[in-house]
Amino acid sequence: MAAQNKSPLNFKLVLLGEGAVGKSSLVLRFVRGQFFDYQESTIGAAFLTQTVALNDTTVKFEIWDTAGQERYHSLAPMYYRGAAAAIVVYDITSTDSFARAKSWVRELQRQGNPNIVIALAGNKSDLASKRKVEPDEARQYAEENNIMFMETSAKTASNVNELFVQIARKLPKQQQQDKPSGSANIKVNEPKQDAKANNCSGSC
């Protein structure tokens, strides 16, 4: 079959989870192939994109990091507004972070888009000797809640690409047209450009 040369499907993906579980590290590993042992709390890099090529389509993730706003329960509703996918991260060496992850899953199921694809990621799988959360426990929780589950390591890169590819496979194969009817959506751009250049939807 001839290559379809379709433009990639764009999806917003958000990360959730307690501080220091490795949310930013997972994204930096996935987007830039980097890992830092002492990654600072998230500053300045809270909106990254990365493309995943599947057999039949290309999926472009717009990845939103929490920018630290989860710390004092101050994450804005706009954060998960319109998100097609969410990765809820916990640290396998911390039961507290797993409990917090469960409450994020509940929050998403209550507030998020009803068709959102949720993946639970048990990060820091390289620290097996300090493990506090058993994979079976997490897997069972994921099955009961009908969400995906994987253990990952941003440090060794284990399962990081796989996690994003699995999510990409679960996403709809067509761009959702759940946006409102009527006139096109507008991204405001440089005022110098003429009206025609600004009057596009989605792709600008």
């Binding site: 300045g44 809270a46 706009m78 507004r81 409102p180 751009n189 005022p191 009057n199």
Partner: protein, 442 residues
């Protein structure tokens, strides 16, 4: 929250969030707190349950799912070429938001609602003015379009820094009814005070209307999907991305001042219910955090209504209707806004209408606007005070914003942000320079 900050910002309204974002991008360490458990303060958008709760009423499930509604507490539209759009672009906060045009812009004349003509071509076909007046209006609009403050040859010999608006209108031979809609529906003045002031501001405001209209076509206004409450959240995100600390649901116990009378910190309760002190060099806050240091300048009366039908002759899903003061025998205009599911702020098939005006009396003042709405499913009235700070903040290091005014757009809101910036930094905010560059992964 213990710690030392450059700035503590109180209240997460749009103005405070823009300032917080700009301070953070500039490398300042910012602590941003709000007593409410939601973002936006007086510029939030609330769901249907929150709306009924606010007015002490029982929710009406027949209206639809509460969370499908995002009802603005300070309804306004964004001028497509105005200062708020420039702020969104210079900070790159535009990437967090999506907008749609507002579909219609109308004005009342002689009891009829008409589309606002804003270009030479539209002026030629509008039923708002008579045959001979059309040409005079067209000439005026062309003059406005070409006017450039720095190019004397575009001034056609008029000195607009001295000539009043009234005098300029006379030069163009415009009739009173035409002047009404130019001043109120294009320049967006809500009373006739501008007529005796120098005309330059009026011409610049008409120009902004025309340029904003030219950007997208149907109206000069933009409105964000999911309501205006998205705006403060987007700027708060910018601040957080640049290291700002956010704490919602954080009642403020007191402001601490040093011996020189300058604010130097804030006491709030920590998670264990014990007082915690955060130190700072200055405070930025909305008037609700400093009620004793603000005065009331005017009162706004408004009605928020949920309807099952559009309110304009063109049945647009979103629109503005301006009722100029002279057309309804008042001292201030009445504004009518309508938004709906097309901007993701109401359940499918429902419309939210806002009717507001500056008042001294009561809901009676809105009757001309309410007539336009027809049958409503549900409605609420309230009267609120517009407050402004008594001092600029240089002495006590408390930079206080003004309340959100009754104007139909964000230009005054943006002016207040620029004013606060200037009070803090001692120099004006340059809207033409990019503050935030996109990083290479975007």
């Amino acid at each position: 929250m213990d710690g030392e900050y450059d700035a503590i910002v109180l209240g997460t309204g749009l103005k405070e969030c823009i300032i917080s974002g700009i301070l953070s991008v500039d490398g300042k360490k910012v602590l941003h707190m709000d007593r409410n458990d939601y973002y936006g303060g007086e510029s939030a958008s609330i769901n249907l349950n929150q709306l009924f709760q606010r007015f002490g009423a029982q929710p009406n499930p027949a209206l639809g799912n509460s969370r499908d509604f995002n009802i603005d507490l300070a309804p306004k539209f964004i001028m497509a070429n105005g200062k708020l759009v420039k702020m969104l672009i210079m900070t790159n906060v535009n990437r967090y938001l999506e907008f749609k045009q507002v579909d219609g812009s109308y004005v009342l004349k002689d009891g009829k609602i008409n589309k606002v003509p804003a270009t030479g071509t539209e002026a030629a076909s509008t039923p708002l003015v008579g045959f001979f007046e059309k040409n005079r209006l067209r000439k005026f609009l062309v003059f406005v379009q070409d006017f450039d403050r720095n190019e004397p040859k575009t001034h056609q010999g008029h000195n607009l820094q001295r000539m009043t608006s009234q005098e300029l209108f006379s030069k163009f031979g415009l009739e009173k009814g035409t002047v009404d809609f130019i001043g109120h529906a294009l320049a967006l003045y809500d009373n006739d005070g501008y007529l005796t002031r120098p005309a330059e501001e009026m011409v610049e405001r008409c120009k902004l209307y025309g340029e904003s209209l030219a950007r997208y076509g149907k109206s000069p206004y933009l409105y964000p999907l999911y309501g205006l409450g998205e705006l403060p959240q987007a700027f708060a995100r910018l601040a957080a991305v640049y290291g700002g600390t956010y704490m919602l649901h954080k009642p403020i116990e007191r402001i601490v001042y040093n011996s020189a009378g300058e604010a130097c910190g804030v006491v709030s309760m920590n998670e264990e219910g014990k007082p915690a002190f955060a130190k700072c060099k200055f405070i930025v806050a909305d008037p609700t955090y400093f009620p004793d240091q603000c005065r009331v300048t005017e009162k706004v009366v408004r009605c928020i209504a949920i309807l099952s039908h559009p309110i304009t002759p063109g049945s647009e899903p979103s629109a503005q209707i301006i009722l100029p003061q002279n057309q309804i025998g008042r001292t201030h205009d009445v504004y009518v806004f309508c938004v709906s599911a097309s901007h993701m702020v109401a359940a499918e098939g429902k419309y939210i209408a806002f009717v507001s005006t500056i008042t001294n009396v009561a809901s009676e003042e809105l009757k001309d606007g309410l007539k336009i709405l027809g049958k409503v499913d549900s409605f609420f009235f309230d009267v609120y005070d517009i407050k402004v700070p008594n001092k600029l903040g240089h002495e006590d290091k408390c930079y206080i914003s003004k309340s959100y005014d009754a104007s139909s757009h964000f230009e005054h809101t943006s002016d207040d942000v620029m004013d606060i910036y200037e009070r803090i930094y001692g120099k004006p905010l340059d809207l033409s320079k990019t503050m935030v560059n996109l990083n290479p992964d975007e």
